[in-house]
Every structure is written in structure tokens, then in C-alpha cells.
Symmetry: C2
Subunit: 239 residues, 2 copies
DNA sequence: GTTGCTTTGTTCGGTTGCGGACGGTTCCGC
DNA sequence: GCGGAACCGTCCGCAACCGAACAAAGCAAC
């Protein structure tokens, strides 16, 4: 069976054989914490379905998202950069499943295969750009653009056009108030880009959503397609 | 002579011998552009003195900073991640000098030495955290905290307590208006944390500046000291 | 179909920072 | 010592967003 995870799917046969024996299928329920800040990380996780957020937990109890991982990559990229801990939390934001591999086994494989190393480091690059785009989006882009960007990033990482999110959740991810999210959703919905229902948002037009996201969306995804391969499986939904 | 650049200084003797012959001293004048977006990058640059910003250039002509490199690292980390181009611009924000190495020579050295690879990838990790902290700071932290963070980051990367910056420049780096910078500087100065003169800011108390920066400052620097070594050379200025 | 919880819609006043502009000051070159 | 440029301080009206709160609507369980 072909892996749903894009990174695993992109492996050469030899690299696949190197990792395969160490991969273990796991469930990733909603809210499951993959990594706690400063805690040693035992497994790298390749997500097949679902979404995982990397967030900073603030003293005041709030959380701010800095990165998003889905079937495009692994959690956490930092494991490839010589560290077993990170100062952020990783948790499942949309339930799904994936495969895990013990960190020592991952390290051995990466040490043994230059092509594997190259592929994984390229993913790190796309992730770095994604975080940089988050920084850019957070610097002044209006809530509506940030919302559009986030919806697109979610959309990129799953099949179909229905996204499961509440306003409350989006408000945390975007670092804004919930009413701000409500207003932004109405605007996008009024323009016909999405259709919002209780706990669910349907993407009606990716193309126009990308316009709405402005420059906050694009660079990370371009980088991914350039360095690794197609991000979305299916065709774009019609404009 | 011991390298001023922290990464080069941290090299083992063998790794130093590997890179040394390929290093070429260069001047880095103010405003010098090291990397243009999407343009192929011929050299990796290890900065000895001065400061280099990684910025996103917006359509409207504005620029937003996503990362800062000084004697702590190299420009650009992305070269270690299997790409020869990045979607951002790198330019010298404070003049200085450094050493450059042609990318193929860098790649050869990194391929040949696992310890070199490890060290450099650890630097990538610290840079990734720095960018993540930028995202966090940009998400709602008031201008004053962001200013404090930026001053500390500059201070970390040079000797002495005098920083050469104008309000105008800071406003670009922080993504706020110049008057907002002026007000924030007055606040910090009023509290006795800094002393501002025309085109110059003197750090009077690092410790209290770190307080003022809140949670925006710290994680990236902790990560650096944990993975690589001391960031600042000299002792902290008295509180 | 009623109860209770979750999610969504809306309101109010207040604050921060924006865009733009103007005047004052320091510094540099001549 | 003078002129000009760069830099700093301040003001205005305005828009976005915040914090808090409350009301309505969808959904689920019984």
C-alpha cells in the first residue's frame, strides 16, 4: 500500500525498506499531545490523516500556533536537527492516524541514507518557510487574511472540501478573539468563498480563497512542491 | 586566530581544517544584499561582526523581518536544507565583516563530516525557534515587548552596549509605524532600561529588558546555549 | 420533545496602532 | 558658521481588535 503521508510516499524503495520495519501504525485522537515543551521526544510521527499544531503555551494560559503538520510531513522536524526536545507543544487538532518510529531508529536510518536525509531536510526547509509565513501573517495582516490562510493550509492537508473547525478553535489558532473570527467568516462566506455551518466550513473556491489570503499564503506551499512534490492529492475545487 | 563567528569558533580542529581553506574574508557594508528572493545563492556567509536580517518583501513595498543572523550563525541556514534559493531577502542591517564559502565546498564539507553536519543542523534548529518566536511576538505582543526583544537580539550579537539603530529602521523590523517605535522607546527609557540618543541606543540593563520582552525573548537563546554554546561573549551588563 | 450543552451571533466601551502630516533638533559637509 | 539632510517628537482622525458579556440557535441524550 502506498503511504498517505507525503514524505513516506516520496521515499525511494531502498529508503522505504530502511524505515518500513520500524514504522508502527497509531491512532491520533483529537487533543492527543504528541510533544510537551522541554520533554524528551521518544517518537517521530508521520501523520496520514488529521492535523497537528505546534503551539507556544503562554504563561497567561493562552496558546499561539506557530506551525501546522499534516500528511505533508512529520512531527517534529526538530528531531532531524539534532535535538530531542523543543520549547513548544504539539497536539492533534483534527483526529486522524499515522505512523511512528522510535527516534534512535530514525537517526540510524537518516545516518545511513543520504537520500533520506536530503528528503527530510527539505521538509524542514518547507516547515521553516511555513513558520516564517506565520510570522509574516501575524505581523499586521488582518484577521480575514489570516483566516483564509489557515483554511487553505487545512484544506491542503486533507481530502475533500469540508473542514471541521469551530470559531472558538480558529480564534486560538489565529490568536484573535472569537467574535473576530465570526465576523471574518461572515465576510468570506458573504463573498461566496466558503460556506459555514455549525462546526464545519466548506471550501467553495480555493482560487478565490488564495486571493483573499494575499501574500500570507503561497511561499511555503510553493517551496513544498518545488522540493518535495504535490501537496494536495485531488484537483482544485472549481472557482 | 579564534573566529569571532560562534559557529566557526565551535568547530573541532578537524572540521576547522575542512572548512578553513575555502573561507574567504569579506566586507559586509550596510545595506549589502546577501540573498535576493528566488535567486540562486552562491555563497554561505559566516558573519563575524554586523547584523543581517531575513525579510519578506511585500508587494506594497514594505518589508517584514522574520529572522536575524549575526556572529551566532550563518546566512542562510536554508543552504543546509537542500535548497539554493529562498523566498526571502537577506541584507546587512548593521555593517560588519565575515567569511564566505562557496556552496559546493560547504556541501562537500558537510557531507564529509558528520560532526560538522550536526553542529550546523543544530544551528538551523535555533534559527527555526527564533523564527517561531518572531511569529509569537508578532501575534499580539505590544510594540514595547517586541522592541525589547529586538534590542536584546541585537545586543546578543555584538560587543558592548551601544546599538546603532534609528526609529525608522526599528519600525520596519518590528512591522509597526515609526511613531509607535518612538513611544515605545520613551517608555523603556523612562523605566531606565535603555538610553536613547540620535541613531543610537545604549542598553542599561539587560536583565530588566528581558523582563520587558516577556515571553517573546528567551526560548531561541536558551536553545542556542543548550545546543551550541554561549551566545554573548562578555558578561551581562549590571542591572 | 424536553433538557442541557456547545456553538454561533451580537453588542458595548475602550485601547492600540495606523496613515498621514508637521515642526523641531541634531549632525554633517562645506 | 551655514545649509541641508537625516532623525526624532508630536498631533490628528480613523479602523481594527480587545475584553466581557449576553442571547439565540443547533445538536444530543434521554
Amino acid at each position: 500500500m502506498r503511504h498517505q503521508n507525503r514524505l513516506l510516499a516520496a521515499l525511494s524503495e531502498a529508503d522505504g525498506a530502511l524505515l518500513g520495519p520500524h514504522l508502527e501504525a497509531i491512532d491520533l485522537p483529537l487533543g492527543h499531545v504528541l510533544v510537551e515543551p522541554a520533554a524528551e521526544i521518544p517518537y517521530a510521527i508521520f501523520i496520514d490523516t488529521g492535523l497537528c499544531s505546534m503551539v507556544s503555551t503562554l504563561d497567561q494560559g493562552g496558546r499561539i500556533e506557530v506551525g501546522l503538520v499534516g500528511r505533508d510531513g512529520m512531527a517534529t522536524p526538530a528531531l532531524l536537527l539534532g535535538t530531542d526536545t523543543i520549547p513548544y507543544q504539539l497536539f492533534m487538532q483534527v483526529a486522524g492516524h499515522g505512523h511512528r518510529i522510535a527516534v534512535p531508529a530514525l537517526r540510524d536510518a537518516v545516518k545511513a541514507s543520504a537520500s533520506l536525509r536530503t528528503l527530510f531536510l527539505r521538509y524542514v526547509q518547507t516547515f521553516l518557510v511555513q513558520v516564517a509565513q506565520t510570522a509574516i501573517a501575524n505581523a499586521g495582516a488582518p484577521a480575514e487574511e489570516r483566516l483564509a490562510r489557515w483554511l487553505l493550509m487545512y484544506h491542503d492537508r486533507q481530502d475533500g472540501d469540508d473542514l471541521s473547525v469551530t470559531h472558538e478553535f480558529l480564534s486560538i489558532m489565529l490568536g484573535v478573539r472569537r467574535p473576530t473570527v465570526t465576523v471574518a467568516i461572515h465576510t468570506l462566506e458573504g463573498a461566496g468563498l466558503i460556506r459555514a455551518r455549525r462546526g464545519r466550513i466548506r471550501v467553495l473556491s480555493r482560487a478565490r480563497l488564495e486571493e483573499a489570503a494575499g501574500q500570507t499564503y503561497g511561499p511555503a506551499e510553493t517551496e513544498y512542491e518545488r522540493l518535495i512534490g504535490p501537496l494536495r492529492r485531488s484537483e482544485d475545487s472549481p472557482a
